[in-house]
Symmetry: T
Subunit: 71 residues, 12 copies
């Protein structure tokens, strides 16, 4: 049966929480295959001039390992 | 004084976290009365083709029990 | 080196999670200077008529203390 | 061997923590049989005029399922 | 999109952790449809005569709600 | 919409948990307005001569901010 | 400087949470000296006939070690 | 009413999680009476040559104190 | 002195929790050297036809870094 | 009996964890009286050029409220 | 295979966190054999005159049980 | 905007907590660029002859991903 790996990534966005998540996923998909699911671990952000400058969403991304993948 | 019950529901949406929450609340309101509040317990999602396919938000919904309600 | 303080604030919004966060930050920035970051501690909300009436986002806001600031 | 179910209930009382717990148990026992144990998950309350107006105790109640019980 | 519900069940077994989980799932499947996944929340047990008399595994079972299901 | 602040206070009492909570609330209400709710975060106490000398209940008190309030 | 040890004890009472705590402390003081403080770790209880039969309060008791004490 | 004590023990086994638990309970029962229940706190293990060499299960064992027991 | 790295892997099995752990370890040992220990972080599974179809055990695997290892 | 307040402060230091804690305490003592205890909530830091540039220790500081103190 | 026990000890020091840990270990080694490892559970301290008077580090100490050891 | 990755590393030292952290950071910086921050997740250690033989500090190290980095 399958074995999966999870890696922890932080997406950032000036727009929204969903955009921060999508940015993290998009980056992960550039070098990882078989992305299956994500889990939000932490939501935080940077402030400037009394406003949210950047949402930072820490996620764990799970993906199925293929035979040739190194860990 | 009032007694409340909490049930755990998972809303899903391809759009946003808020939409996933609203979908869970809308479904709960079909068979439960006196919905009072919700608490987000977990945020996760499914991935496909390097993008978020579905946001999954696990919430607890609290509602006031009426005399005739079974638990 | 700098010393920071963190305070816990609850922003509310009928619109979105981001709007609730922004409302909390905007209010904090009225009387606090040097706001640096925020951390989301809890997401919940009030329900009415089978819909989300109000998102409530509990955040901690961190800011750098100046010499003259009282704690 | 037995299988049990746990449900989450919030008892309230203007008097005491124990009274809030008892109110939740009493309400649960109206429609559930074989109540076995409870676990306190959260203690909170509402305030009015500088005093505790209502203790709110969130408990999980465990009970043994009988063959005919629906979940 | 789908909405899911999670219920908390305790399976018991004198044999093994897996057997306790299977007993809880088997009981849940008698009255719930569309069971999708489970999550182990707690592992404990009763002792007698210096041995494990009963493993008790607390799980949350998730299932997809159909239109006609009451919550 | 409203913005709230939460502060962390420790009430003490030689009598009961409820009394320790009430003492904390009473003290908070002397200088804070619009107290809305409290959450118990920790229960502990001091011992002397083999008895509880003092219950210590750590609570978070939430209150609505008015326009003129400094944080 | 002093070194302390903490042991975990469960007090029970049919009356109240405070009584369960006091019973645990009283029992501990029979064989332990220099009891200093306690921390509540868990509150639960047994049910019978639709009522709380017994409050069970899990506490950690801290005490200062004397030179001759074995651990 | 009864007072209980809980001690933390780590059982190990090359075979299974259940065997590690049983080994811990068997050892505890050699010098403790009235063992009542256990709770799994942590599951880990040692690896060697690309395989699990030893399962390590950290449990808390609860037992009823008799009058003559020292703590 | 040594420096270690921990990676998060999910083993799956239709048979048992131990088999899911062993599958994850076996896969990790294909591309990682010096595996030293594992910690179970989460136990869950997939259901089908009223039975456990697959146990999923999330573990963290720790291994000693050699000089030439990239992180 | 006494009522205490806890505030959350972040001390920083390029030297050590203890120095970061002392810096936070020293700053707090400039405007708060009756400081009684602290609790470490989080340890983190900033990196630069492959070294720790700054330790950041988040602590909660507890102090006894006097009659005239505003919260 | 071996069985281990864990006990909870609080070391104190006016100097440093490491010194508080060492003091707790040194005290434990006076009456316990086969000490194997420790885990830090909590870091706190007492304050006096605007400075740290005493670091208090709560640790769990694990040691291998010998056949003759009572628990 | 930037995307970050976090990896979990365990530094060890016979000297101090800070030294264990520095050793982990130094090792990470040999093969990772753009190291930004660390978070302490766990503090433990090995004992020998009644003394701390080795401090083990589990940290998460965050670093900004460059376009060419594989995950």
């Amino acid at each position: 049966m399958a074995v999966y790996k999870k890696v922890q990534i932080v997406g950032t966005s000036g727009e929204s929480l969903e955009d921060a998540i999508q940015k993290a996923i998009a980056r992960a998909s550039k070098t990882l295959r078989n992305l299956g699911w994500f889990e939000v671990k932490e939501i935080r952000g940077a402030l400037a001039e009394g406003r949210v400058k950047e949402y930072q969403v820490v996620i764990e991304v799970g993906f199925r390992l293929e035979d040739a993948d190194s860990l």
